[in-house]
């Protein structure tokens, strides 16, 4: 009997990172574009430059995760937080 579950294969980590990570990065970026201080142009620019960094963080998290189910939950939670943040600011 295995003492611990097998670690997720690289292809599933990359899939979770690319799909889930992209969705999470986009959601957080939209929230930042609504919530950051400053003019609309400032918010748009600063949110835009943050997106590649958020995506990179999500990809690295996916590569370092030990449980696929928990990884998807984490990415979904981040994406949900981003969507809620954008909605709270009054944009639907």
């Amino acid at each position: 009997m295995a003492l611990r579950p097998a670690l997720p294969a690289l292809r599933w980590r990359m899939t979770a990172g690319v799909v889930g990570g992209t969705l999470a990065a986009v959601a957080v970026t939209l929230a930042l574009a609504r919530l950051l201080p400053g003019s609309a142009l400032d918010r748009a620019v600063l949110a835009g430059v943050a997106l590649p960094l958020i995506w990179l963080a999500a990809m690295l998290r996916a590569l370092l995760a030990n449980r696929l189910g928990r990884l998807w939950l984490e990415l979904a939670a981040v994406a949900l937080a981003g969507v809620l943040g954008a909605l709270i600011s009054g944009w639907a």
């Binding site: 574009a33 142009l41 748009a44 620019v45 600063l46 997106l51 590649p52 590569l63």
Partner: protein, 506 residues
């Protein structure tokens, strides 16, 4: 970090490198060459070599060459870039509804328009870097995604290496090719890391800008993407539809200089040229700043009245947006900075190639000793032709471009593209049939070195502008390129020697 995590990160690093290594190689090498598009244009387009000198005509006098053309119909925009490509004025303009700008170059010392197709080779190299010659905007998005992948590759590479300080000074000689490729890969990766992160990040932003503006602009401007575009690109008032006298630009340029002493006008933009609602914007360079956003003075084109000057100290968002392009293209620090970028860009190019070669060497070792070339994996042979062929095709393109002065048919965009891909394909096929892929790679570098050292010769034969003559005349726009070609040849010869067989291996 435990061994399992390290193995996963290493596998991810290898996977992204293998999948996109070829695209990253093309983007990095073409980007390194495209850094010098402005400097290379007079050399590669002999028809654009101007004598310069004193008494350059004012912009109004230069535009008189196009007055009849502009008067033939409505003109949406005229953009005059001053002192580019070795001292020329480059006019980009279009009529309402045109898909692309038309470009005319003017010699400011005579006011004459330089007819014919020019600068096709620098334009080709720029398009190869920004779009991989794929249809817009998809090619741009692919290049932007390559930037993201390069970021991921750099990040996983950092996390995998636990002893960066030791590896930054390790270069073992006289060992196997795999070990040498691995040492070079780590050296270039570690020493160039800050540059690679910056170039990948800004490249991703520029490549994906179209998507980012829609996403973040739409969110920040309450879904009004049109308002977002206006904010990013600046607002243009609508046409009045009434004809008006063309604007007199020289007094406006002088006024802008007086408002911002010490800054040179870099660009003059006229919206709705010849219309009663026309505006003139004068953009001024500020050499000490990375962000060139806001040194802009706006005038009413009909009356010449000053309208507004954008604040020099702009918001953090505007300064950030305006800093991305100069940071990526090294347009904020002169030629010396471009040379530093070129060395580091070459390092990024070799990173992509060496990573792929490491993977192929490992595959080759796993397959065991290979008796004949027929048994060697084709992919290894094709890789040698691919990586060695692109420098050969690029340098051959410069030869064809300079000979276009004598044979105009070979200097067009299409002709040069066909020649470039034809030569590259030939190199790949040569790799496929070569007895040893490594010998093929060495031969490619040797051919590239000969092509590079031959560039000053081609220039002299085709145009009569021999290196000693241009040096004596102080014509650095041509002499500088010839000297750079010699330096490139020396670098390629060195690379060729470094690939020499080690003990008992080919």
């Amino acid at each position: 970090m435990n061994g399992v995590t390290t193995r996963i990160l290493f596998s991810a690093h290898s996977a992204v490198g293998i999948v996109l290594g070829a695209a990253l190689f093309v983007v990095c090498l073409s980007g390194t060459v495209a850094l010098f598009v402005d400097e290379a244009t007079p050399w590669s387009s002999p028809g654009l070599r101007v004598d310069g000198g004193t008494g350059a005509a004012g912009l109004d006098s230069q535009l008189s060459a196009l007055r009849e053309t502009f008067a033939a119909g409505p003109v949406a925009i005229v953009i005059a870039e001053l002192d580019v490509e070795g001292g020329l004025t480059r006019i980009s303009w279009r009529r309402p509804g045109d898909a692309h700008n038309r470009i005319v170059r003017i010699d400011p010392s005579t006011g004459a328009a330089l007819g014919g197709e020019h600068a096709a080779w620098p334009a080709f190299l720029t398009d190869l870097h920004t779009d991989l010659l794929l249809p817009k905007p998809w090619g741009r998005y692919v290049v932007g995604l390559s930037g993201l992948v390069m970021l991921l590759s750099a990040a996983t590479g950092i996390l995998v290496h636990r002893k960066p300080l030791r590896q930054a000074f390790t270069c073992r000689r006289g060992r196997s090719h795999l070990l040498r490729y691995t040492d070079w890969h780590k050296l270039m990766g570690l020493w160039g890391l800050p540059f690679h992160l910056m170039i990948a990040y800004t490249g991703a932003l520029l490549g994906l800008a179209g998507i980012l503006i829609v996403l973040t602009g739409g969110a920040a401007f309450d879904g009004d993407v049109a308002a977002a575009n206006k904010a990013f690109q600046g607002e243009t008032p609508p046409r009045a539809g009434e004809a008006a006298a063309p604007p007199r630009l020289d007094p406006l340029i002088a006024d802008a200089r007086a408002r911002y002493p010490g800054r040179d006008p870099a660009r003059v933009i006229v919206h709705h040229y010849g219309d009663a609602a026309a505006t003139v914007k004068v953009d001024l360079d500020d050499p000490g700043r990375l962000s060139q956003a806001d040194t802009r003075v706006v005038y009413d084109a009909t009356t010449g009245a000053f309208r507004r000057a954008l604040p020099v100290e702009a918001s953090v968002g505007r300064r950030t947006y305006a800093a991305i392009t100069p940071l990526h293209y090294a347009s904020y620090g002169g030629l010396a900075l471009k040379l530093v970028y070129a060395v580091l860009g070459l390092g990024a190019t070799l990173l992509s190639a060496s990573g792929t070669l490491i993977w192929l060497e490992r595959r080759s070792e796993r397959h065991g000793a290979i008796a004949t070339a027929r048994d060697r994996p084709r992919i290894e042979a094709l890789a040698a032709g691919f990586f060695g062929g692109m420098p050969v095709a690029t340098l051959a393109g410069f030869h064809l471009a300079v000979w276009s002065a004598a044979f105009p048919a070979i200097g067009g965009y299409g002709s040069l593209a066909v020649a470039f891909f034809g030569l590259w394909l030939a190199a790949c096929l040569a790799g496929a049939v070569a007895a040893s892929p490594r010998r093929c790679l060495r031969a490619s570098l040797a051919v590239a070195a000969l092509l590079a050292i031959g560039l000053p010769l081609s220039n002299g034969l085709a145009t009569g502008d021999w290196l000693p003559t241009t040096l004596a005349a102080g014509d650095w726009s041509v002499a500088g390129f010839d000297l750079a070609a010699i330096a490139v040849a020396a670098t390629l010869f060195t690379g060729c020697r470094r690939l020499a067989p080690s003990r008992g291996k080919h």
